[in-house]
Amino acid sequence: MSDSVLELQNVCKTYGDFTAVDDVSFTIPAGMVYGFLGPNGAGKTTTIRMILEIIKPTKGSISVFGKPSALAVRERIGYLPEEKGLYKKMRAWSIIAYFATLKGMDRKAAKRRAYELLERYGLKDFADAKTEALSKGMGQKVQVLASIAHDPELIILDEPFSGLDPVNQEVMEEVIRDLKERGRTVLFSTHVMSHAERICDRILLIAGGKKVLDDTIDGARKTIPRRVRVASADPLDFLAELDAVVGLVPAETIVAIGSEKLLTFDAQLSDKGEPIDVVKACLERGVHLERFDYSPPSLHEVFVELVGDKAKEASFR
């Protein structure tokens, strides 16, 4: 478990004056499922391409399975690129088998494996169809299967969930979980936090080409203050005065129950503050609470909190 599968040291990539990836370092140990998060244009795809040696880093070093070149260990890596595409005239099974043989698999074994995978993940009926006859999502599934057909130890998936319906998103999660169960290492990028939350051991967050966070899910949650969400028809301003509360921010929109308008606030707790302090204060003042919610922040909130500004900035670049 302890040997690292992938190691990046001070990796930079510049396009002209623009720095797409800025001094990123991280290490992925074997058997981990790593979520690679970041706003649009953060440099995720660029980083992944550098790992796979499709483009060369401007600076820094990358080692995969202890080798400086991913091509030297290509049969141990599986890759699903961000932009999906298949040979239109080839059949689903043969495309899977072809990529598997390119990765060093025996031709017969590759064919058998292709059929096996297609059956297992619900594409049995399309095994012999030309890929141009598949829908986009089906094609994408075929491509995912093609990337794992040679049973690689490290699987790198760039946005594997995009374009899939909810059911197939679950299938995709299942694929990743299966890989994890068999001790494989997975690095995948996504914009849907709930997937990352459900299946990742750790997440790696980058923004503007720089690493922002590399932690477990719990660790990531701890990076933003604890808070309770309260809703009431009565004014709640007094909460800001409490010792236990450091900040009070209006949250969500105003919700109406019956004729009454509810105001919802997030009360951020101080280090020593506890949720019960908020409840007590309300009872003392006879404030009627319609809603009280204390749960750890979601990854979504962490994301918005940590890189929200950067994401907006990037969209105007």
Binding site: R49, L52, E53, I54, I55, A70, L71, R74, I77, Y79, L80, P81, E82, E83, K84, G85, L86, Y87, K88, K89, M90, Y98, F99, T101, L102, K103, G104, Q143, A146, S147
Partner: protein, 545 residues
């Protein structure tokens, strides 16, 4: 090595699935097949042409009849000859024929040649080829033929005279006569005659000779005088059509017209000789005297200087090979572009490049496309030889002889080398173009100039054998893009050693350089999105590490 083979295999399989591949594969044999067999078929299926002759002068009817009869005799003789050689017991083996010794054929057709040769035996032949005469001939021939030879069938005559349709008065003025015949000539009505079931056949042509034809005879002096007299107003004469009228809707088949023209003219000449007190027979004899003329080639050893069939083959075979190379390159260009651009536009390229190096990918593609070329050439050559074999009869050794001839000239190795290098060079270019483009449209823009460059060998292909060591040929030979075509074109003309060795070295060096450069361009271009790079940018790619 394995990835290269795998990529080559897929590339080959992919191309083998395209329509272009199969069209390319079969087009060539079909063209050859067509050019050999369709001609025969056409000859066999052309119906007998029926014509009418109205000779109001009464001067030429007979000579026309004679001429047509002579033609018919030649036809029959030819058919008998073919019949005999087809079913002869001991057929002369084709392999006994030495193409090196056979003189290159004249352009005259076989039937005409027979007619010329038998000209003076008209009457005897007429007898021999009549019903009984022919039976006797065939009976004599019988022992020499194989047992199961079928009976001889008289070939259909090419032309047959039919009578003027009933109700048309042969003495009408020509304009009215022509008017009457018009519906028949246009196929609206049929004339009686021939073997057709209902005794009705189509009229092919009408020959109308006016009564006063003798006043219309022209000689160059007369024409000049007439021009002078008319003061340059020559148009009037044309509209009057005072002469023999040959009416036919078919403008392509002019044999009948030519024959009638010749027959009438020679009759007029004969009369003129008589009128001028010359002996027509003697004049005819004199005109048959021929000066022997041999084509000789100073490059060949003493005693064998005569230009033979083999020499002709050697001279023109290279043109065929140039054409083959051209077609091969032309048909792969689309495949290479399509496949590379598909990979680029679908971004399959990323998966590929995470599995193989750009160099391996390029080599794989080249090997794959080379296999496509190899299959094409093999099929083409195979079908060419098979068709030749079929058309020359089952035991014929003609294809082998053809190969021998080519071999003896040292042409085959030259073809293989030039073909290989040319193919590689152009495949490399197409690959480079494919790698820097994202859409077929972009690629086609870039292909424009390349196609222009490629037109040159096709245009010069037919000229170069006529002046194989001339300035144009030599200049083109030293341009590497044209070396394979031009040197192949010149291969049988003993080009100077400097040209052979020099251009080959240049070609090899240039091809190697191109592939190296293409490798660099490919590596960068293949991942590139957006506009194709500028030329200047390409040079920086070449220089950069």
């Amino acid at each position: 090595m394995r990835p290269i083979l795998l990529i080559a295999l897929r590339e080959f399989a992919e191309n083998a699935k395209t329509k272009g591949f199969w069209i390319g594969l079969f087009l060539f044999p079909i063209i050859i097949f067509a050019s050999i067999f369709v001609q025969e078929l056409l000859e066999e299926s052309t119906p007998t042409r029926n014509y009418v002759v109205v000779d109001q002068s009464g001067l030429f009817e007979e000579v026309i009849e004679d001429s047509m009869a002579s033609m018919r005799r030649a036809e029959l003789l030819r058919a008998i000859g073919e019949y005999q050689s087809e079913y002869a017991k001991d057929k002369p083996k084709l392999s006994d024929i030495d193409l090196e010794k056979v003189a290159a054929p004249d352009l005259m057709g076989e039937t005409e040649a027979i007619e010329q040769a038998t000209k003076s035996f008209g009457d005897e032949l007429e007898l021999l080829l009549g019903e009984q005469g022919l039976d006797a001939v065939l009976a004599q021939m019988k022992p020499l033929l194989v047992e199961d030879a079928p009976a001889f069938e008289r070939p259909r005559p090419r032309f047959r005279r039919v009578a003027l349709p009933e109700g048309i008065d042969a003495s009408l003025p020509l304009t009215e006569l022509a008017e009457e015949l018009r519906p028949y000539l246009r196929g609206d009505r049929k004339v009686a005659g021939g073997e057709a079931v209902d005794g009705q056949v189509e009229l092919f042509a009408a020959v109308l000779i006016p009564a006063d034809i003798e006043q219309e005879l022209e000689s160059p002096g007369d024409a000049m005088a007439a021009m002078m007299a008319a003061g340059g107003q020559a148009e009037g004469a044309a509209t009057e059509r005072r002469g023999i009228q040959y009416w036919a809707t078919n403008l392509a088949d002019e044999d009948l017209k030519g024959r009638i023209d010749r027959a009438v003219t020679s009759e007029v000449h004969r009369k003129e000789y008589l009128a001028r007190g010359m002996d027509a027979e003697q004049v005819a004899d004199v005109r048959d005297i021929k000066v022997p003329l041999f084509s000789l080639n100073p490059n060949k050893s003493v005693g064998e200087e005569e230009v033979s069939m083999a020499d002709k083959i050697r001279q023109w075979a290279p043109v065929g090979f140039v054409y083959l190379l051209w077609i091969a390159i032309f048909s792969i260009s689309q495949m290479l572009l399509n496949n590379t651009i598909e990979e680029k536009s679908n971004r399959i390229i990323e998966v590929l490049l995470s599995s193989v190096t750009a160099g391996e990918l390029m080599m794989g593609k080249l090997v794959g496309i080379a296999c496509v070329g190899l299959v094409m050439i093999t099929v083409w050559m195979g079908s060419l030889l098979t068709i030749l074999k079929l058309s020359a009869g089952p035991e014929a050794e003609f294809p082998n002889m053809l190969l021998d001839v080519l071999q003896s000239g040292g042409l085959i190795p030259a073809f293989i080398i030039y073909f290989f290098l040319g193919y590689l060079l152009y495949s490399g270019l197409f690959l480079a173009i494919g790698s820097v483009c994202n859409t077929l449209k972009e690629a086609q823009n870039l292909m424009g100039p390349v196609m222009l460059i490629m037109m040159v060998p096709i245009i010069t292909m037919m000229f170069i054998p006529k002046d194989p060591n001339g300035t144009l040929a030599r200049i083109l030979s030293w341009i590497p893009l044209y070396t394979p075509f031009t040197m192949m074109n010149r291969a049988s003309a003993d080009p100077p050693m400097v040209d052979v060795v020099g251009t080959l070295i240049l070609l090899v060096a240039f091809t190697a350089f191109t592939l190296w450069a293409v490798g660099r361009i490919f590596r960068r271009g293949i991942l590139r999105t957006g506009q194709p790079p500028k030329i200047r940018e390409l040079f920086t790619w070449l220089r950069a590490e």
